[in-house]
Symmetry: C2
């Protein structure tokens, strides 16, 4: 075997089973998206560099894969000048394209470009691969699939309601039981922040808040203290973080929120109450109002959500929220939108660890015809032609090699039945059928074989 490793870490090959498992999840998700009026869109893997860079924060930008210009990218450059520049500047000269990093920016680019042809509110779902030059770890790859549904062009909370119902139905169909949707509203956070007269930005405030889940609430409280926030305000936040807001029967009780007179907070609270009144009922999803949920991305402006599966300690398996101005990045303001995302790779891990994939994901042969000689092979081929007409997955072992080798091939491929057509069967026009699981054999006509396998 070659000693060289030709594979890249974090960029997995997917076996038949892995492809089938993905297709299983996607078919459930697509079916539900479409019932809710979302239809597919696909954008190219390669976008202009300028479309992507600058939209993911400085840490995100570093993870964008940049594509070299084709041809002589140095020909028109003053090379001496170039030498004085740092690698980032040089990148921007020799690279003009980059790989899809998420599905949201390409969606905003698409909507901006096609706004005169699009009927708003515009709904789409998108299930495609994205690439990030990140450090690979469990549930985090360099190539992975994202799965988003978004609506743009309406600020109605009926949309949030539909998206939460989609989450509920998808996780129910997948068989995941202990799934929690954490929910917050950026307006509440913005109202609380504006009351602080802080020397840090709202964006920083959100980033530190977001750390509470992994590192505990002291990280956040210490940050407030270090930044000279008043004792009164710190006490208020402490109480907020301790007293969870119960949502019995989708009826939130905000009485524990200290009564700050602030329009944004009132608006945020009203949205939460309105949204719950619209949803009326969820079957699988449990909802928690989580004051410490802030979501990393700057563009969220209203309701925000994050999904966790309590059975598996793997972090968030979905998330999303309302954004006001996404398309302004491309020179248009089409209005408010809202979207959700499924963490496909992590959901696949959950389904695997919880044994929730259907047993027979249909990636093995129904039947292998053993090759016992040239004349026999021709007869087998006639049988195979008819079996395939009936939709049965079958093939002839291509070479006349020892029976043992052919049986070993059948076993390794997980074939359910093998068919033997030798001298005897050539005369009798019957087929010897061997059940590869229990080893039993029987003599059977082609017609009976077809019926057997069709009902199997």
């Amino acid at each position: 075997m070659s000693s060289k490793n030709f594979s890249l870490s974090g960029m997995p090959d997917l076996s038949s089973l892995e492809v089938k498992r993905r297709e299983y999840v996607f078919s459930i998700v697509k079916n539900i998206f479409e019932k809710y009026g979302f239809f597919p869109l696909e954008t190219p893997a390669i976008e202009k560099r300028e479309t992507l860079m600058g939209n993911y924060g400085s840490e995100g930008d570093k993870l964008v894969y940049q594509v070299l210009k084709s041809g002589d990218f140095f020909s028109k450059q003053d090379k001496k000048e170039l030498l004085k520049s740092d690698y980032k500047t040089i990148s921007s000269i020799i690279s003009d394209k980059a790989l899809r990093y998420d599905l949201t920016i390409p969606f905003a680019r698409y909507v901006s470009k096609n706004q005169s042809d699009i009927t708003f509110p515009f709904k789409r779902y998108q299930i495609q691969k994205v690439w990030r030059a990140d450090r690979p770890q469990k549930g985090r790859l360099r190539e992975f699939t994202q799965c988003d549904a978004d609506i743009i062009g309406s600020d109605s909370l009926w949309l949030e309601s539909d998206l939460l119902k989609i989450y509920d139905e998808v996780f129910r169909k997948l068989g995941l039981k202990d799934v929690v949707l954490k929910l917050n509203n950026r307006k509440i956070l913005e109202g609380l922040y504006s009351n602080l007269s802080a020397n840090f930005s709202f964006s920083e405030f959100c980033i530190v808040l977001d750390k509470i889940e992994k590192k505990g609430k002291d990280v956040f409280l210490d940050f407030l203290k270090e930044n000279d926030i008043s004792r009164e305000n710190i006490l208020m936040f402490e109480s907020l973080l301790i007293n969870s807001i119960s949502i019995d029967n989708l009826n939130p009780d905000f009485s524990s929120i200290v009564n700050i007179k602030n329009e944004l907070i009132e608006e945020g609270k009203k949205e939460v109450v309105d949204l719950f009144s619209k949803i009326n009922r969820l079957e699988t999803l449990k909802i928690e109002f989580d004051f410490s949920l802030a979501r990393g991305l700057d563009y969220y402006t209203g309701m925000i959500f994050e999904i966790q599966c309590n059975d598996i300690d793997i972090g968030s398996i979905g998330g999303g929220g309302r954004y006001a101005n996404l398309t302004t990045l491309f020179g248009n303001n089409i209005g408010s939108g809202v979207g959700i995302s499924f963490g496909v790779e992590r959901i696949l891990i959950c389904l695997d660890e919880l044994n929730l994939f259907p047993k027979d994901l249909d990636c093995s042969l129904d039947l292998l015809f053993v090759n016992l000689g040239e004349e026999e092979a021709f007869l087998c081929q006639d049988y195979i032609d008819e079996l395939r007409v009936s939709g049965i997955k079958c093939e002839l072992f291509p070479d006349q090699v020892k029976l043992k080798k052919q049986m070993s091939y059948a076993n390794k491929r997980g074939v359910k039945y093998t068919a033997l057509v030798g001298e005897k069967e050539l005369k009798s026009k019957k087929i010897t059928l061997r059940n590869m699981i229990d080893g039993s054999q029987e003599s059977i006509t082609l017609k009976d074989l077809i019926n057997r396998l069709k009902n199997d």
Copy 2:
């Protein structure tokens, strides 16, 4: 509207209809592949640069998209030394990854890497996007989908037979009628070439031969003359190119091939005869033996095929062949393989131009509930919940805007029915259903509505 163009040429966005049309073709192809015992494999979009570069010929290599190293790719380089190099050398230093250019090399890389775990003969199909920095034109994009089936590890002609039957069944299912499979054997070509004592390589011979289809046979004959090939040989080729080899009832008549005593030619002819005896019958595909078919790629060593749809002048819509040593590129020799490829983008163009897509590719809503007020909307939402349980694609228009605007939205989205629930319907518990095609209206219960749409 923004004056900036954020899109890249040759890298298309795919609308719902375009996605659905692709899914329609893929589902037919996948279903047939699996009946023939092929199962899916997916490889990552990004491979090591060294895995791809050097395998597609100098012209092909230029079209490979190279990905910049992450981080400071110049840090460890002597910049002055670097600037003396040409851009190709610099590329090889600052780029260590590249984008999938075809599915064959990644397949060979996969098989080499996993050979100790794979059961041979190994069959896989792969339907994935590839990227080429080519000049975009009709049926040729920079991002496009390839669709391949290959078997590696057996030299049995039963495999060629299955692959030709797959072509036959796929094109029949797609409704394409006048489809021709051109066929040749590299061994015949190699035998004829070896007889020439030529001062050019076999590879050059094939490249010039391949030009006949587009530029006429004189290009080839002139090339022979310029390279001092004997008059006798040139006459032989002339006769070969004029007298087509008829294949009545899959029974090839090679008598027009000048009788050169050459083992390779005999072997090639025998393979063609054997293959036809195995196929026995094709329903859609017409077979032509085309002596001028050579296939551009160096790795073919046996039977080669190319598919044309005579109804549309778009060039080849598929091709493939037998190769002996593909995995040696990665330090292994796993043996002979054979594969076919479907030209997905061109097939889509053919189906579109010939009106062969199913009329209802299921990318519109079954039903839109018009939003006539808050109380009405809540009742609509109850109805919608039940309709969705029955698998009906429906939604509530999210905003209370003028009826005209909502109806215009329904029309533009191609919605089949709209449902009106106003004051009257609030009391009667009935729904006013409007057929958006003929404009007819009726009053209907939820139960009747569900039955109507389920049977629609």
